[in-house]
Amino acid sequence: MKKIVDFFLSLKLTVTLLALSMVLVFAGTLAQVDKGIWTVVAQYFRCFIAWIDLPIFFPRSWDVPDIRIPFPGGFLIGWLMVINLLMVHWSNFKIQAKGGRRIAGIIVLLLGVLVTCGVMFGWGTAPVADTQSDAFWRVFLRLGRGTLAAVVLYLASLLLYRKRAGLVLVHAGILFLMVGEFMTALYAVEATMTIKEGETVNYVDHSQQIELAFTDGSNPDYDRVIVIPERRLKPGSVVSDPGLPFDVRVNRFMDNSSQPRPLAGIPAAMKANYPSYEGYGSRLFVDGVPENSGTGGGRNAPAVDIDLLDRTTGQSIGRYVLSLWFYPNFVNRAWDMPQTIVADGKPFTAYLRSRREYLTSPDGNAFSIKLLDFVHEKYEGTQTPKDFASQIILVNAGDHVERELRIWMNNPLRYARRTFYQSGFLPDDSGTVLQVVHNDSWMIPYLACMIVFVGMAAQFVQSLRRSQRRSS
């Protein structure tokens, strides 16, 4: 037991872990030449055991055997660092204050934690935080709030740890930053929102997940949507829903599919085993292809091959292929190909689409965004983009919000615990693509940055003064 404790108490472990993380970060950088960022993040950083590809260290023209080397992954190194840090502090950084000073220290510490929480959860900030002016004041204000928390924490640390106050604060800040990143890795959600000029949209697309949606348009006043989530779309499974007059049997699920091409132009050998579909599949060729890896940067377009089954007979009433390629937001609104199905005398439209989440504020009220205008400016006489901006109206009837706002590069809108960023645009500048991020720990880096800064600065000033005293 003592050996284990000593192991975690040693600075040698700290240095070793830091060195290992350098190797990992370096390998994770080189790997990005061949692989996409998210593949690399999963393979190297967000895992306990990373598998490092040997060829990444050599020029790609060399013939290096494709060997994978196991290596401590980001999570493993991170956890060991946390344990190491906490143990070293526990044993080496004892609280040095006694009596009144100690009590005062603890009170100030609690105050500091309170201020930190307040900053983190945005107490006292506007509910609709758009940005009218440059990043300058907005970010300074945030860093200023962070500094306030850092200074209170430093005072607490000074009361409790005296000379070592700075060091304790630095390490607390690093720990906080790591916790924040860990929470981001687990809980942050990124989605996109595609809006054409003049259109109002009240949902976001979770582009990493898909769903199969049937819309019953028989009622003139409203649509009924029945959604089958991705996890239910297993080959061979049959999905039954009271809202649908038929059952859905999944024949095949393709993780990625080719862009649809006219069936007539496909060589006979390729379409020999091609099922006879109804709808688009009868005219277009949709087939599974290997997943996109990295450098191409392309997103995977899953597709699903289904049979609609008659409830009473169990016989197929039609076989369909549905691809994400048919979904307009996937192709930046280049086309829209809803699959129409008539069953039981009712018209249905079906899409395989990105998982859709309807926007609601924390109070549960629905809200929507209307795009008034999209601006794409270039520098005169060049193709270099100067500015992308979306002029929008945010409407939340339940919360009595109706605001005209501007979202542009480096100037997002923060509303309802989400942040809306200018991210892309539709062909001919006819609309905008917003990145919508839901991350409750987004303020942690601001806080951690200032906590570490205050701690380090205090420590350096202190040692500078000590060395000056020594030399004089």
Binding site: Y379, V437, A448, C449, A457
Partner: protein
């Protein structure tokens, strides 16, 4: 007294050194008033600049130089460009196309020659070869292209750039009527590329326009009167009519001043900045500072060290001025690209050297040594990075935020500087310890203290800078940390400096070990600063260059060699540490 005299001499020398070449050459009424022509405005790559800058950038791209040599005489960039756009017959014989690759040369039917520079007339007979080779090279995916393909593309791009710029100054006045339609179409196409816009906005047209389109009269429109004046200048120059040219230049300038006085602002100042050439001159002086200080430090002589410090300050002032001038001209904070980061790192390293000498009494010239060599090397790197043309380019949309450029970029760059200063100290520590007896116990301790202090600064700056970069990312697209290569590079510096400090706290390394680690820090920083860009992935993938990879490897090799020397047993160390 002696000190005052040496300092006065140093200052006078520096003033003389910097003023040379600044004054414009004299022009009588019998000469073409090229100076006045050089000051006229043009908009190119999104920035208004004098024609002088356009000519210099353009010539730099073609030939890596800012002047052309003809029979041992130097021709200024602007005169070279004027000869070309006016259509003087001798213009085609300027040897300005630099082509170094043997295979490219042989496919153009050219012989290898000293300087590797060839004229338009020499290239043009085999231009078909260049076109077909470049088309096939462009046809390949980027990863499939071999060295020849890349060199062909580079050469072809130079050639197309030249042709586009020449076309944009064409005079279509005498084009036969039946070719008007096709010419108009060609001009429309050309305007889709980045070409110089020589005609400033005026009452007739609110936009900057290229000369050739403004001159083209449609069936319903007349040529732009401002453009007609510009064309008159070129015609007079082509015909060798000095008096007419000079009066046309004056009239054009007066017309622009009357129509749009704002278009002429900052132009003379930019010409002064161009002619001052402060960075190259400062680099030469920094090298001198380094040499003098080496002598002073080894011989423990105070005199040369003080003189060198004065010289360093004298070079530092124009260096500072030129950086401020760049901010004024471009409207951006000092660091916007690789070129300006090199200039800024050099500036900050020299400042660190001066501060070290001024604050730390036991520096004994070490500050001079670090500032001198760092200033020299970084400015030299900047000189080689300037080959892409205008170094004051406009920023793409996502990077165009002065706030983040002024905070994140500056802090990170200062972090690079601090690690380089530490690393340079480490190199001096190892070299002096191994080869000289200068590194006695006292010096050893002093040098260690300087390294430790700068490491602390390096950690602080690179940590804050890196986190600020993350905050920028969070503010731009909602992802604080995205494992982007450049972010990772900055993180490596933070981790390495953290290792250095922890290893020292844990008494795992001695002074010498610390110096060895500091030198290793140079490699880590060079990787982050330059190496990452060579991967050409991610958001920061600007400034990819073949030769940069080569020099980076050379640098890493030398640093590894010094690390190796640092690990030699104490027996062979002359200072015996």
């Amino acid at each position: 007294m002696r000190k005052i005299i040496t300092h006065s001499i140093v200052v006078l020398f520096a003033v003389w050194f910097f003023q040379s070449g600044v004054k414009l050459p004299k022009e009588s009424d019998a000469d073409f008033h090229i100076n006045a022509f050089a000051t006229l405005p043009v908009k190119y790559d999104g920035r208004k600049k004098p024609l002088d800058t356009l000519a210099r950038n353009f010539l730099t791209i073609l030939s890596d130089k800012q002047t052309v040599r003809v029979d041992g005489k130097r021709v200024s960039a602007v005169q070279w460009m004027l000869d070309n756009i006016a259509g003087r017959p001798e213009a085609l014989d300027y040897k300005v196309f630099r082509i170094e690759n043997m295979d490219v040369l042989s496919s153009l039917g050219l012989e290898e020659r000293k300087g590797f520079r060839y004229s338009y007339r020499e290239i043009v007979p085999k231009i078909g070869n260049l076109e077909s080779a470049s088309r096939s090279a462009y046809g390949k995916a980027e990863k499939q292209r071999d060295l020849y393909d890349k060199q062909i593309i580079k050469t072809a791009n130079k050639f197309y750039l030249y042709q586009n710029i020449m076309s944009s100054f064409e005079d279509p006045t005498f084009i036969p009527k039946e070719q008007l339609m096709s010419t108009a179409q060609r001009y429309m196409q050309l305007e889709g590329f980045s070409i110089p816009l020589a005609i400033p906005p005026h009452s007739g047209d609110p936009r900057w326009r290229p000369l050739m389109s403004s001159l083209l009269a449609g069936p319903m429109t007349k040529p732009d009167p401002v453009a007609v004046k510009f064309a008159a200048m070129l015609n007079a120059y082509r015909d060798g009519n000095v008096a007419l040219f000079n009066s046309a230049v004056a009239e054009y300038e007066a017309l622009v001043r009357a129509e749009n006085p704002a278009a002429l602002k900052k132009l003379s100042f930019e010409i002064f900045y161009n002619r001052l050439g402060a960075f190259m001159k400062a680099a030469e002086l920094y090298l001198l500072v380094f040499i003098i200080s080496c002598f002073g430090w080894l011989a423990r002589k105070r005199g040369p060290i003080d003189a060198a410090l004065a010289l360093m300050v004298c070079a530092f002032i124009p260096h500072t001025f030129a950086i401020i001038a760049r901010c004024f001209l471009s409207g951006y904070p000092p660091v916007t690209n690789l070129y300006s980061s090199a200039i800024f790192i050099g500036w900050a390293a020299v400042l660190a050297g001066i501060v070290l000498e001024a604050v730390y009494r036991k520096a004994e010239g070490m500050g001079n040594l670090v500032g001198g060599i760092a200033g020299f090397v970084t400015l030299l790197i900047a000189h080689f990075l300037a080959g892409d043309g205008d170094t004051m380019e406009q920023m793409r949309a996502v990077l165009d935020t002065r706030f983040w450029l002024a905070t994140h970029v500056i802090t990170v760059t200062l972090g690079y500087m601090a690690t380089f200063v530490t690393g340079t100290l480490g190199v001096f520590y190892i070299v002096s310890g191994l080869f000289t007896k200068r590194l006695d116990e006292q010096t050893n301790e002093n040098m260690y203290r300087m390294m430790y202090g700068t490491t602390c600064f390096a950690l602080l700056l690179s940590f804050v800078g890196t986190v600020l970069g993350g905050l920028w990312a969070d503010d731009s697209w909602g992802r604080f940390w995205g494992w982007d290569p450049k972010e990772n590079g900055a993180l490596l510096i933070v981790l390495w400096t953290a290792i250095m400090l922890h290893a020292r706290t844990g008494k795992m390394v001695s002074n010498r070990g610390f110096a060895v680690m500091a030198v290793t820090g140079n490699i880590v920083t060079a990787w982050s600063w330059f190496g990452v860009n060579q991967l050409s992935v991610g958001l920061h993938s600007y400034g990819f260059t073949q030769s940069a990879t080569f020099w980076l490897l050379v640098f890493v090799g030398t640093q590894l060699a010094i690390v190796g020397l640092g690990l030699l047993p104490s027996k062979v160390w002359r200072s015996g540490q």
